[in-house]
């Protein structure tokens, strides 16, 4: 809810390149990332931007690869939001409130599709046609404020970067020292050995994961990381997902208004520049978050709560 006077103030602020919290039009709110929060999950991360907060957990399981892509694993995504961030408060991507979560899931699924990250999915394959890893990514929206797509994609990238899957050796009888071994009874013909000591594990290759950047059209200007308050004065939004190599993986509109073709072109240009910058900065930030987690001696010992739970 925003009165006409507040919307006018927001519009004037965007035109003056000075938004309510002092940011320029293309500035993001301070972002923070934390990884390795849950010892039970294969990977986990939390991303915070201003009043918005997302928690992502990744679990790995073994399955048969899809028939049409026998050499690829899968990344499946689901999103949920708690009572504090109900679906009705999500930005208006889709008409009905209960379809907005589905819309978000669909938009984010495009990031982890075979077309977007074929190389990363190939690293998840264990035995062609019979065994592969399926990474289930679950994003929990804890607090909502503004552009959830950007924050979820960032948190998911961090969580996947922190994901460790056990090393799998194909069906030999030789024993490696240390790790407990287990027979994985997949549907395939050959038996697999899992090395459960996570120190030995190979991280999922996440260097090619795309990230979303959402720009909102506020009074004819492209505005990045609009807060919920600003979105009330906004027209349409445009979300662009770019891989680190600069390939467009997804493009989504939202907001329920039209967008002038010329402005849409400008917004895409700006979004791709921003996205390239975000990739560079996020890479460092994820590396820093992983180093911080090492500093906490993850996985946490008995009785010590990790990260923000402390």
């Amino acid at each position: 809810m925003a009165s006409a006077a507040e919307q006018r103030y927001t519009l004037h602020g965007v035109a003056a390149d000075l938004r309510d919290d002092g940011r320029a039009r293309l500035d993001f709110r301070p972002l923070s990332l934390e990884v390795h929060l849950f010892p039970q999950a294969s990977g986990s991360a939390r991303a915070v931007a201003g009043a918005a907060e997302v928690l992502v957990g990744v679990t790995a399981e073994l399955a048969a690869p899809p028939a049409d892509a026998p050499d690829m694993g899968q990344v499946l995504l689901s999103i949920d939001c708690g009572p504090a961030a109900s679906a009705a408060r999500l930005p208006e991507y889709a008409a009905a409130a209960d379809e907005r979560l589905l819309w978000l899931e669909e938009a984010l699924r495009a990031l982890f599709s075979r077309e977007s990250i074929p190389e990363a999915l190939r690293t998840l394959c264990i035995a062609r046609g019979t065994q592969c890893w399926v990474l289930r990514v679950h994003a929990q929206l804890l607090r909502l404020d503004g552009c959830p797509l950007d924050l979820i994609s960032l948190a998911a990238a961090a969580a996947l970067a922190a994901t460790r899957v056990p090393r799998v050796s194909g069906g030999g009888a030789d024993e490696l020292g240390g790790g407990k071994r287990q027979r994985a009874a997949g549907g395939g013909k050959q038996d697999l050995d899992l090395d459960e000591s996570l120190d030995e594990s190979v991280p999922f290759d996440c260097s090619t994961l795309p990230l979303y950047v959402t720009l909102a059209n506020i009074g004819g200007y492209a505005v990045a990381d609009a807060t919920a308050h600003e979105r009330r004065a906004a027209g349409s939004t445009l979300s662009l997902a770019l891989s680190p190599a600069g390939r467009v993986c997804a493009l989504r509109g939202g907001g329920g208004f039209g967008l002038h073709l010329q402005l849409a072109g400008e917004m895409m240009q700006l979004a791709s520049q921003l996205c390239a910058q975000l990739h560079a900065d996020a890479k460092d930030a994820i590396a820093q978050a992983l180093a911080d987690a090492e500093g906490r001696r993850w996985p946490a010992g008995e009785g010590t709560a990790p990260g923000f739970l402390a």
Binding site: S3, D21, D281
Partner: protein
């Protein structure tokens, strides 16, 4: 070189203010003399001990023991200045959000008519209610009375109350706002703030270098509850200049910094944080390390607390033991 649009910060926790008053948590046993009276926020355990049911400070009036919660919705008192948002236009009344347990009500009979006309409200006025206030509008108002069910009735029958524009709303925890002699505050650096008791603070531009306090809040509102068509004759609403806007941003961020660190929101703390923030760019004010720097002066012990109240708190604490 292209400007940087991203700032990744480490998720370090912010400093929290220390409470000078002893704080109890739910389940804490409250020492009470025999024959005590059980107040709000307390209950009697099966063994007869009085325990707290909310986290807050203990208040005692003779034999009555209450716990005033640290975090709660706004429960007003008659005469409080509040900022509220219209959520529904009804018959003879507007329903407003006051950050309380229940929605408040502004009666058609408790607003000023255009031109200060004094008369009974007619059926025609009822039909024209949207000319005064429409849904989502923000108003400043005063608590007039309480209904039987505990919901509050507000009035805007003074020139200082009415529709708000050309500013930003900042929502803070209502328990951080204390009663002041004057809730409409004009800062020296040219920003007006309404320290509304319900935690909805309104920040707007004001003339620079004027007196610290407004005698009656006059001149603060461009629009005194008059319909859009008629407001232009008083003083045409002028959008704030970039300099004014930057000051508004700075005050807004100062309020957010005070709220996130659970510090009292008062004219003195806001001015302190504002002054301390001048060495930083406005957009950097909400970075964690900047927040801890700018709130540091506001965290210093308050003079009024160090002497009398702190002594009282000590005595009370002593009683508890």
């Amino acid at each position: 070189m292209a400007p940087r649009h991203f700032s990744f910060v480490s998720p370090s926790p912010l400093p929290k203010a220390r409470s000078y008053m002893p704080v109890v948590t739910p389940g804490d046993v409250l020492p009470a003399e025999p024959g005590f009276l059980r107040g709000h926020g307390t209950m009697v355990r099966q063994d007869g001990a009085l325990i707290a049911t909310v986290a807050g400070t203990v208040e005692r009036v003779n034999k009555l023991v209450c716990v005033r919660p640290l975090r709660s919705r706004y429960s007003g008192e008659v005469g409080d200045v509040v900022v509220c948002r219209i959520i529904e236009v009804g018959q003879k009344r507007w329903k407003v959000d006051v950050n309380g347990r229940q929605d408040g009500v502004v009666m058609l009979s408790s607003i000023n008519l255009p031109g200060g006309e004094q008369r009974r409200r007619t059926a025609e006025d009822q039909l024209n209610m949207r000319q005064f206030y429409v849904e989502h509008d923000l108003l400043s108002a005063e608590v007039q009375a309480f209904f039987q069910d505990g919901s509050m009735s507000l009035h805007t029958r003074s020139l200082k109350y009415g529709k708000l524009q050309d500013g930003v709303l900042v929502v803070v925890n209502p328990s951080l706002v204390k009663r002041l002699t004057q809730h409409f505050h004009r800062f020296k650096f040219g920003v007006d703030v309404i320290f509304a008791m319900n935690g909805y603070l309104w920040v707007s531009a004001g003339p620079e270098g004027e007196t610290e306090q407004l005698a009656d809040g006059q001149g603060m509102l461009n629009d005194v509850g008059i319909g859009d068509t008629e407001s232009s004759d008083r003083s045409a609403p002028r959008p704030p200049t970039r300099e004014q806007r930057e000051k508004i941003c700075r005050v807004r961020n100062a309020l957010v910094a005070l709220d996130t660190t659970a510090l009292a929101v008062s004219p003195s703390t806001v001015a302190t944080v504002y002054t301390a923030s001048l060495q930083f760019a406005v957009k950097d004010m909400l970075l964690p390390h900047v927040i801890s720097t700018i709130i540091a002066p506001a965290m210093a012990p308050w003079p009024e607390l160090t002497t009398q109240a702190a002594a009282a708190a000590r005595i009370q604490h002593h009683d508890c033991e």
